[in-house]
Amino acid sequence: MTLLYSDVEEELRAAVRALLADRCPPSAMAARAGEEPLYDAGVWKALACDIGVAGLLVPEELGGAGASPREAAVVLEELGRGVAPVPFLTSSVMATKALLAAGTDAATELLGPLAEGRTTAALAVSFAASPYAAAPDTVTASPRAAARDTVTAEDGTLTGRVTAVAGAEAADVFLVPASGALYAAEATGVQPSVSLDVTRPVAVVTFDAAAATLVAPDLGPLRAALELGAGLLASEQLGVAEWCLATTVGYVTERRQFARPVGSFQAIKHRLADLWLAIVQARAAARNAADAAATGADTATAAAVAQAWCGTVAVRAAEECLQLHGGIGMTWEHPLHLFLKRAKAGEIALGTPGDHRDALTGAAGLPAPA
């Protein structure tokens, strides 16, 4: 186990960071926020195919890079630092993990094109779904599909509606929990919602007798995907927080009031020192979650600890960033709002900090009161 970054991870980071800085810097995104969907198919194609992030978690024999969650986490740090509007977390981490965990022929068949970046997938669950709660039965598999216990249920259909699905606008295929099993299907309709997080909007996805393929006979793979997503979301939140701290430090060093830089006032310095410490802790927790996911040791606890901490830290970093920028922080023009929106939505995503703390009751040896 190590909580440091390897040279390979740093190289991957540099490649992703350079591409994002070139193709979709936060300032450019802020300029076009609200005017058009922020999802950037061109940037995603470059990331997915040229750098190869889409297949990071897919084994080499299935057409992927055979890397581990540690590398995926570093990519997420950079995507967080750039609030990049790409479906890496939803497709290359969560949907990919569900298919890997399912391990059926139907699942494997979907993985190849995903790994190459030719197709994109999403879990048809609310982005606010907690890994600790049962998936709500909003989609029903037709009796024929539900009765099948083989993986060749190509003539089964799905009917229902799922709200607050992340990564939906880019998804070619959805992995849908229905009637206690996991199916793959194309959506009948994807209706984008007006979302708090404009760089990762959510949508209402409908299935109206949609043709579906059985991917797994139970929802184990879905839970595995939600758990990995939660654990690695911490790395994205770390990236968001790091951008906010660095940007704030830069601003208070430049901005002068009372004839001296604002950052020379102790009231400001101490707040930023405390924020720095919270981010140091977030980095260790996020690295630990990624490392645990890679080694398979104690993954649930590591993910819950990271999520309980990092979601809150990202929000705090963005809120401090806003306050310390003064009025400029409240403007549409400054990219900070993209980070605050990403941070607050991310805090709710895949379980709130409170959900994750409750899940640690057993690991902490702190049973709830009767």
């Binding site: 190590t2 909580l3 440091l4 701290l245 430090v249 208070v252 060093t253 001296r260 830089p261 950052g263 020379s264 006032f265 102790q266 400001i268 310095k269 101490h270 930023l272 020192a273 405390d274 720095w276 410490l277 140091v280 802790q281 977030a282 980095r283 260790a284 927790a285 690295r287 630990n288 600890v305 309980a308 901490w309 703390r357 409750d358 640690l360 009751t361 902490a364 040896g365 702190l366 049973p367 709830a368 009161p369 009767a370």
Partner: protein
């Protein structure tokens, strides 16, 4: 195992095969372990080490599990602060004279830094050292000196030139605590005991061979001590849910009648904070294995102070009626620093010191802001003024 690891393991096993602590006694065993280079493996050969990577210390400790151990409570200042400073700034003679008995615990160390008028603003200190032939004559008063009543030696900063600005006129010494003119008086603390002292220095003669580093370079030498101090206080990763957390968890687990929803929520929050702090300390250790302590140690000390205070406060509250009781107000000289020993009331009171000793949390935040984040310094009225002209 790496080649390095294999060599170290072989060396340790070979040593253990030839040295039976029961037959030779604790001190002789520890001396022999030091001479074999298996004390602190990253120290140079001849000084208790093998010049090996710091990370291999854990391998050595594993091999020496169950053999006579150091008394880290009594030896904390020697091991954590004096030793790294001696190693960096000491002459060969000083290193050979001091490091072995320091490591074995035959000679204990204390730290004569703080003064009644110089705590957070350490560089204003007024204890004078005046050159007299081959000696220095020291006069002044130090305070908050843990373990001075047991110490054989002290690391000390004194003013050797009052005519230059305060950071420049300081020199670092090893003070002989048995020298004539050294008087140690206990200071009774909030807990009822006296773990620290006032130290009065009156005409204390120290030979120049006890000077550490160049004359006037004391501040730079002291920085090494202080950085190591913060790492020593804040940077030791325990086990998950250990330390202060383990005590409160045990009470929670065995006393279901005390549980409330409010405390459950707060304890889970603190458990998460303790865990992320532990992980950050693990990560800091990994970084240290490759280099020297940076200002990050200040962050860990900040975190542990806050945690200890929050946890010990919650523990007294959890206990309700029993929290109204205190274990013992008897005045005693404690011979070890034990943050988690004794009862919950003691822990609550002792933890208050965690954000003061070894640099207050306020000073550490300023250090982080300026040295890690690079924020501009506050305007300083005392920087370019000779020490003797500073208003006092």
């Amino acid at each position: 195992m790496t080649a390095d690891e294999t060599t170290i393991v072989e060396r340790a096993r070979e040593f253990l095969a030839g040295h039976d602590p029961d037959a030779m006694g604790r001190e002789a065993f520890l001396r022999a372990r030091y001479d074999a280079g298996l004390a602190w493996v990253h120290f140079p050969p001849g000084l208790g080490g093998l010049g090996a990577p710091r990370g291999l210390q854990a391998v050595v400790e594993r091999e020496f599990d169950g053999t006579p151990q150091l008394d880290v409570g009594r030896q904390a200042i020697g091991l954590g602060m004096a030793a790294p400073t001696l190693l960096t700034f000491g002459t060969e003679e000083q290193k050979r004279r001091f490091l072995r008995p320091l490591w074995t615990g035959e000679e204990l160390w204390c730290q004569l830094f703080s003064e009644p008028g110089a705590g957070s603003d350490l560089a204003t200190l007024a204890t004078r050292a005046v050159r007299d032939g081959d000696d220095w004559v020291v006069d002044g008063q130090k305070v908050w000196t843990s373990g001075a009543h047991m110490a054989r030696w002290a690391i000390m900063v004194a003013r050797t030139d009052p005519d230059v600005p305060k950071h420049q006129g300081l020199t670092y010494f090893v003070c002989d605590m048995h020298a004539s003119g050294v008087e140690v008086r206990p200071l009774r603390q909030i807990t009822g005991e006296a773990e620290f002292n006032e130290v009065f220095l009156t005409g204390v003669r120290l030979p120049d061979t006890l000077r550490l580093g160049a004359v006037g370079e004391g501040w730079r030498v002291a920085q090494t001590t202080l950085m190591n101090e913060r790492v020593a206080i804040g940077g030791t990763p325990g086990r998950r849910g250990g330390g202060m957390m383990a005590l409160i968890t045990e009470t929670w687990r065995t006393r279901p009648e005390l549980r409330t929803h409010d405390l459950h929520r707060r304890l889970l929050e603190l458990w998460v904070e303790a865990e992320v702090t532990r992980l950050a300390a693990v990560r800091l250790r990994e970084q240290l294995a490759a280099g020297t302590p940076g200002p990050e140690g200040s962050g860990m000390k900040l975190a542990f102070a806050r945690l200890n205070q929050a946890l010990s406060g919650a523990e007294v509250e959890l206990l309700r009626e029993e929290g109204l009781a205190y274990d013992d107000w008897t005045f005693r000289r404690s011979d070890t620093v034990d943050f988690v020993g004794r009862g919950p009331g003691y822990r609550y009171l002792r933890a208050k010191g965690n954000s003061i000793e070894g640099g207050t949390s306020e000073i550490l935040r300023t250090i982080v802001a300026e040295r890690v984040l690079g924020l501009p310094a506050e305007p300083r009225a005392d920087k370019d003024v000779p020490w003797k002209d500073l208003p006092r």
